[in-house]
């Protein structure tokens, strides 16, 4: 009947769902056709030969033969009932099998020579084969039409049902001996067999029948059966068994056969084909109830499908069952239906629902487990190591603490240990940029803060060296050159001299300065504001340091992006600089009666400490401005004004001493370093600034004297190095003369304490610095001014221990040499 003019002859009658009964062996046969034919002899490992047939002592215990003689074989078997007792085990086995053996290989056991270890873990072979085989999914038993559903399931795996074209004979001929090819469940089979047995022989009542299984439950039973991987088989086997009892002897998991099977029956021969070609041939090996988990092992051992049994109707089938029953290690297979039978409808529904869920889960597990075992543990270790390496590379070695996060969490430790390491290790050892930034920063800090008490000495030593060099230079210098300069000095008029004052922007300060200005009482509010301003300075400084560390790489010439980055970076730096400058308030105007805001910051120790860092982050003009600001307010500094020396032996209090030391270490040192970059014009300008202040006050403090020494010795070094234009020198000499005239009356009083104290080294340094640059006339005046102190020190030195005396004399000598004399001349 052609429907819609379809050519029915061309129709693929093998395709599922086209009016033919499903042949459960279809896929198997097809596969076997496709597969390479395997000779049983090639694959049989001969294990069956090794079986020990002698030790049968406990067979009775095992198999229940209590009489020792085989009784009449009954037909009252009840696999179904037995199986129901181990339902749980089977369920577990199912799940386990699902995970381990996704593709059931049951149909082709001998084709898997390596199948001895399938349980231990799927091999690669498995996975290579898995996709091409229809496999159970766990859904089968929920289909109303289980047999057809098997076909559908194959598609579930993405496998084209091309293998389904079954052997030509079977489906196409509905009039095959089986008639309707109706599938019967094992339950039905058993029930009928029991009925037969009852009718035929008065056999003992079936012991193992806990309950009758109603036929209505058959479909459930069928579903359950399909849950097993061998569902194809079972369905296929049961049917012929029933409808052609005489024609299809069946081997159900026979016990190991001692005889190796004959090669005449290659195991790989597809049973379905045989069936088709020789429907009447009795030697049709079939197999049911294979436990998948032990399939391969058993198969190999048993020599699987090769056990021809004479066709003897139900009896042979019975025997087969009997054998199966006597095989205790073979777990029974079907069980739940029996239990289900007792359940109410609701419970059944709930159970089925649960089962569906479970099956779905199993399916998922299977899909996920498809790639199980692809990687060995070694592979995984390898990958893990690679990932760790990448992680380390991405986040940086924790020991290198390169990231800002770790810096934020552990700032002190990170930087401190880097500094320590930097000092301990070889200086040429490369450090990361971060360490370098802070190392440089702490270089000055170390000189100052860390070795706090040694800081000033360091500074004084350097100053002393500078003065000494200046003295040496002066001594080596021909006298007449100096005279020439002196001579020119007198002829230069003030008006013609170029004064650097405008550059320094000091006019206003001059007018606003009030020598007698009393220190403004710092009330609480001012102090708070000042401290807050200081913190702002520090915050900005830290930002700038961070910013400096993040400096982008020097861009390539045509790298626009990098150029933009650098541009943005410098812009940001500029903004930070402005912020810092604003916070410092260096250029604020002096308010009468109030201390300058910048100098107020310097009155705090942390303000003093900030100066070295500020100098690192400011430009030249800003530094000069700061320098100028400090010099202009020198006589108002607490460390100057409140630390005036007298000839009495006075001791400043601890706080003041600390203040002085800190100022000397943090500020004077910084200014000293900075000053060495300045030209003569600026030095002269600074000295000129000093002249506008209370020089006597300045000179009578240690800080002030140090500053003066610094300025004067710098000028001498410039002179020694031949720097400075002639005009600069004229300006300098003029300023110097002015300075000397102002200072001269104070000179006798700048010594700290009495002659007995040894704190006057810095004074001798100052005197030496003054003496170098002085004209002969000024030198003479200088000697006269300090003559008493010189003589006293020399005479005191005679009473002192030699070492101490040498020190004192050396101090004096520093000055004496600067004016061309020597202390030995006095002795």
């Amino acid at each position: 009947m052609s429907f819609f003019n379809f050519d029915q002859s061309r129709h693929n009658t093998a395709a599922p769902g086209f009016s033919q009964a499903h042949d459960p062996f279809a896929s198997l046969a097809n596969r076997d056709e496709e597969a390479e034919e395997i000779d049983f002899e090639d694959t049989y490992d001969g294990l069956g030969d090794q079986l020990d047939e002698t030790d049968d002592a406990f067979n009775d215990d095992t198999f229940g033969g209590d009489t020792g003689e085989p009784g009449p074989v009954g037909k009252d078997f009840d696999f179904f009932g037995h199986t129901a007792k181990v339902a749980n085990v089977i369920e577990e086995e199912n799940v386990r099998f699902n995970r381990q053996q996704p593709a059931a290989k049951a149909p082709q056991p001998v084709a898997q020579p390596s199948a001895y270890t399938p349980i231990a873990g799927p091999s690669y072979n498995y996975f290579a084969q898995a996709p091409v085989r229809p496999a159970r999914t766990g859904y089968e038993k929920y289909h109303e039409q289980p047999i057809e559903d098997l076909q559908v399931d194959a598609a579930l795996w993405g496998v084209a049902p091309k293998k389904q074209p079954p052997p030509p004979a079977q489906p196409a001929v509905p009039s095959a001996p089986s008639g309707g090819r109706k599938m019967l469940s094992l339950e039905e089979v058993e029930a009928q067999m029991r009925a037969q047995a009852k009718a035929a022989t008065p056999s003992p009542a079936p012991q193992h029948q806990p309950h009758q299984i109603p036929h209505e439950q058959a479909y459930l039973y069928q579903h359950q059966a399909q849950n097993q991987p061998q569902a194809h088989f079972q369905a296929g086997v049961v049917e012929p068994l029933y409808h052609q009892p005489q024609g299809h002897p069946m081997t159900i998991l026979q016990r190991p056969h001692s005889k190796p099977p004959t090669p005449a029956q290659p195991s790989s021969q597809p049973p379905a084909i045989q069936q088709h070609q020789q429907p009447a041939v009795p030697q049709q090996p079939t197999q049911i109830l294979q436990n998948p988990n032990r399939l391969s092992g058993d198969a190999a051992k048993i020599g699987l499908p090769v056990h021809p049994t004479p066709p003897s109707g139900p009896q042979s089938a019975h025997q087969g069952h009997r054998q199966q029953g006597s095989l205790p290690r073979q777990p029974p297979m079907i069980l739940h239906p029996a239990q289900l039978a007792q359940l109410s409808e609701e419970e059944k529904a709930a159970y089925l629902e649960q089962e569906a869920k479970r099956a779905k889960r199993n399916h998922k597990i299977f899909q996920m487990s498809r790639d199980n075992g692809i990687m060995t543990p070694q592979d995984k270790n390898f990958i893990t190591r690679i990932q760790l390496q990448q992680l380390v590379a991405a986040t940086g070695n924790p020991n290198e603490h390169g990231t800002d996060e770790s810096l934020a969490e552990d700032f002190y430790y990170q930087v401190h240990s880097q500094i320590q390491a930097g000092h301990r290790q070889h200086p040429s050892q490369p450090l990361n940029q971060f360490a370098q930034t802070y190392l440089f920063q702490t270089g000055s800090r170390q000189g100052g803060m860390r070795r706090h008490n040694r800081g000033p000495e360091n500074h004084m030593q350097r100053m002393e060296q500078q003065v000494q060099r200046a003295v040496e230079a002066a001594k080596n210098k021909p006298k007449n050159k100096q005279l020439v300069i002196e001579g020119s000095l007198g002829k230069i008029s003030f008006s013609n001299a170029k004064t650097p004052k405008p550059l320094l922007n000091i006019k206003r300060n001059d007018s606003a300065s009030d020598v007698k200005k009393a220190p403004h009482p710092v009330n609480g509010r001012d102090k708070k504001d000042e401290l807050r301003a200081l913190e702002l300075v520090y915050t900005t400084l830290m930002k700038m340091e961070d910013h400096e560390r993040n400096m982008p790489m020097a861009p390539a010439e045509d790298d626009q992006e990098a150029l933009a980055k650098v541009f943005a970076w410098s812009n940001e730096g500029q903004a930070l600089n402005e912020q810092l400058w604003k916070a410092l308030r260096v250029q604020d105007h002096d308010q009468p009666g109030r201390i300058h805001p910048f100098m107020a910051l310097l009155s705090y120790s942390k303000g003093k400490k900030a100066i070295p860092r500020i100098f690192r982050h400011t430009n030249h003009e800003q530094r000069i401005t700061i320098f100028t600001r400090i010099v202009v307010n020198l006589d108002q500094l607490d460390v100057v004004r409140e630390a005036q020396v007298t000839t009495d032996d006075i001791q400043f209090n601890a706080a003041m001493r600390e203040n002085i030391e800190l100022f000397s270490a943090a500020i004077v040192t910084t200014l000293f370093t900075f000053m060495n970059e300045l030209g003569l014009d600026l030095v002269a300008a600074i000295l000129g600034l000093v002249c506008t202040r209370n020089v006597d006050v300045i000179a009578k403090s240690r800080i002030g004297a140090s500053m003066l020494t610094m300025i004067l010795s710098r000028a001498e070094l410039i002179k020694h190095n031949g720097g400075g234009s002639e005009q600069d020198w004229r300006s300098w000499d003029m300023t110097y003369t002015q300075f000397f005239n102002i200072l001269e009356p104070t000179l006798p009083y700048i010594f700290p304490g009495s002659i007995a104290t040894d704190q006057d080294t810095y004074v001798w340094q100052l005197l030496a610095a003054i003496g170098i640059g002085a004209s002969p006339d000024q030198q003479q005046r200088l000697v006269i001014a300090v003559k008493d102190r010189v003589m006293d020190t020399v005479s005191l030195a005679k009473t002192l221990p030699p070492a101490l005396a040498a020190d004192r004399l050396q101090n004096v000598n520093l000055f004496m040499r600067s004016i061309g004399l020597d202390v030995e001349l006095l002795q």
């Binding site: 002190y412 430790y413 702490t442 800090r445 830290m542 942390k606």
Partner: protein
């Protein structure tokens, strides 16, 4: 400033544990809240500022003879009153910066939270 040690009141946990890490293997004196002072080599400090000291010596050994046999101690952080630090091992300015940074971090965190 001539004092060899100075006392530090612990305020910032993060910074202080970071700080104490730099003092490991330095000799410190831990003053407990029961007035016992224990001098020893700092071995470890944890987040609770529990302190492990090695080679300890009680400052007033005559007063606390029961500790003279003890060689190392683990001190619960909550019983510590002061830790006297070797001044030369402390970078004060760096410490100040560290506290500033932490304060800034906490400020930003407070803003965000």
């Amino acid at each position: 400033m001539n004092a060899r040690h100075f006392s530090s009141v612990v305020q910032h946990i993060l910074t202080s544990s970071s700080f104490f890490k730099t003092l490991i293997d330095h000799e410190v004196t831990v003053e407990l809240k029961n007035d016992i002072q224990i001098r020893g080599v700092l071995k470890s400090v944890d987040q609770f500022l529990n302190i492990k000291l090695d080679n300890i010596q009680v400052v007033e050994e005559l007063k606390y003879p029961h500790l003279s046999a003890v060689k190392n101690v683990f001190i619960r952080g909550s019983v510590v009153r002061y830790v006297h630090l070797p001044q030369e091992s402390v970078d004060i300015q760096l410490l100040e910066d560290a506290t500033r940074r932490e304060a800034a971090n906490q400020a930003t965190k407070a803003k965000q939270g």
